[in-house]
């Protein structure tokens, strides 16, 4: 079964990346600490009025997530640059897209764990009241993470091999994430309020479509990007 072989490759690459992170831990800790630090700074800059902070909570959590996720994406390809690791990876038999899928899976797990901590800290620091619709909020968060990781992983595969990776990745990635940020933030804000306009569901559909479009587009384009 060819697809079973491919799936094995995908898992192997994801496991390799996550094992490296697990053995090191410094990377994950640093990325999460940055996210929390950004939340604290935003709280100081926007507070101390409790109501103002509550209204800004969604935006603050997403900004903290974006800035710290960028570091995670760059790291995931940076480790491949040492001792020609990427070249060896490309030498292995099997389709190239499995490399992308593996990186995607690894980053998805990494960023989900990171976001779980950032969101928890954000809820506490910004005094968010959890509404009954919290499962939908988690769904929005999940869709947002998928879109972020898809584009982040794709652009990092280029930016991390360029001369100015620290600045290039956010420069490429953030403008592309505008629809994702708007959809996730507006839908979450609507649900944290009363969603009187019933606008959340339209945004959720947009978010899902966005994820799907770029998942397909980046899979098609990755082949051209990864060549040494």
């Amino acid at each position: 079964m060819a697809w079973r072989e491919d799936w094995r490759r995908v898992r192997a690459i994801a496991r390799k990346d996550l094992t490296t992170e697990l053995r090191g831990k410094a990377g994950f800790n640093a990325v999460v600490s940055l996210g929390v630090t950004i939340l604290v700074l935003l709280g100081l800059a926007l507070g101390p009025d409790a109501e103002a902070l509550r209204n800004a909570a969604v935006g603050a959590v997403w900004l903290a997530t974006l800035f710290s996720a960028v570091l995670a994406f760059n790291r995931s390809f940076q480790v491949e640059l040492e001792s020609g690791a990427l070249e060896s990876l490309l030498q292995y038999p099997g389709p190239r897209w499995t490399i992308y899928a593996g990186k995607l899976l690894g980053n998805l797990i990494f960023v989900t764990l990171m976001v779980a901590i950032v969101v928890a800290v954000g809820v506490v620091l910004f005094g968010v009241r959890i509404p009954d619709t919290w499962p939908t909020l988690l769904g929005i968060l999940a869709l947002g993470i998928v879109g972020l990781v898809v584009l982040g992983t794709f652009y990092a595969s280029m930016a991390s091999r360029s001369r100015a990776r620290e600045v290039l990745l956010p420069l490429l990635l953030f403008p592309m994430l505008v629809p994702l940020l708007l959809a996730a933030a507006t839908a979450s804000k609507a649900l944290l309020g009363a969603d009187l306009m019933h606008e959340a569901s339209a945004w959720i559909r947009l978010l899902a479509a966005y994820d799907l479009v770029f998942l397909i587009a980046t899979f098609l384009a990755f082949e051209h990007v990864i060549e040494a």
């Binding site: 592309m176 947009l206 479009v213």
Partner: protein
């Protein structure tokens, strides 16, 4: 899929010179169209002579979209056929498109200050034009930071194509988010006194767009020919 062979043009063959006539024609067309528009259009009932900004602002916005479309087409064609010239053409269109995009934003703000009382509003059209500009900037930054010509071509083609896919999505999301802009000016929404001026200026700016892209493309070809020549010399050619 062809291997990553840099499609090498004949090493020193100079690219064809962009005709001087195209440049002259676009200057004359622009001067004529602007003069015609400014002299013939009556002051607008609400905006007075401020309305004249429209004759550059609106066509410049259209040219931005045309340029972006050129980037999309030649990026996709590069990924498909891997011809170096397609990459250079896409890059030239992106530079010119970013210039027109910046011009659209600046003129819109100059108009918005007296008309709306503020330099900037977070309206759908303004915001998506700004995001488009940032996507262009990212594309050009990528080109600036990658040295290997083959890698630069492949990467920027991918970024150009995926960025172009995002343009309608950005537009839609920002429209949902907020809408305040007056319906976009086009010959259909305008009083007859203004339509001819707008059409003439659109044609004039289209000529300018084509001339700029061709000129930039010609320079890019020359730069590439120089690089190939330097390589040939370094390899012990002549």
């Amino acid at each position: 899929m062809p291997a990553s062979t840099p499609s090498s043009d004949p090493v020193l063959a100079p690219p064809p010179r962009t005709s001087l006539w195209l440049g002259l024609a676009s200057v004359i067309a622009l001067v004529t169209a602007q003069t015609h528009a400014i002299l013939t259009s009556p002051p607008d009932a609400d905006m007075g002579h401020l309305q004249k900004i429209m004759y550059v602002h609106v066509p410049a916005a259209w040219m931005t979209f045309i340029a972006f479309f050129v980037v999309l087409v030649f990026s996709v064609r590069y990924l498909w056929q891997r011809r170096e010239n397609d990459d250079l053409l896409a890059a030239s269109a992106a530079e010119v498109g970013a210039t027109f995009n910046g011009l659209t934003l600046m003129l819109g703000m100059i108009w918005g200050r007296p008309a709306w009382g503020v330099w900037w509003v977070w309206d759908a059209r303004l915001t998506s034009t700004l995001v488009l500009f940032l996507i262009f900037v990212g594309y050009l930054a990528l080109r600036a930071f990658v040295d290997d010509t083959d890698q630069r071509a492949r990467w920027s083609a991918a970024v150009g194509a995926i960025g172009a896919i995002n343009v309608p999505i950005v537009y839609m999301s920002v429209t949902w988010w907020r809408t305040l802009h007056q319906p976009p000016s086009s010959p259909a929404t305008l009083d007859a006194a203004y339509t001819l001026g707008l059409r003439l200026n659109a044609i004039a700016l289209l000529l300018v767009l084509i001339y700029f892209i061709r000129k930039r493309y010609e320079i890019a070809r020359l730069e590439r020919a120089t690089e190939h020549a330097a390589e040939a010399v370094a390899m012990g050619g002549r």
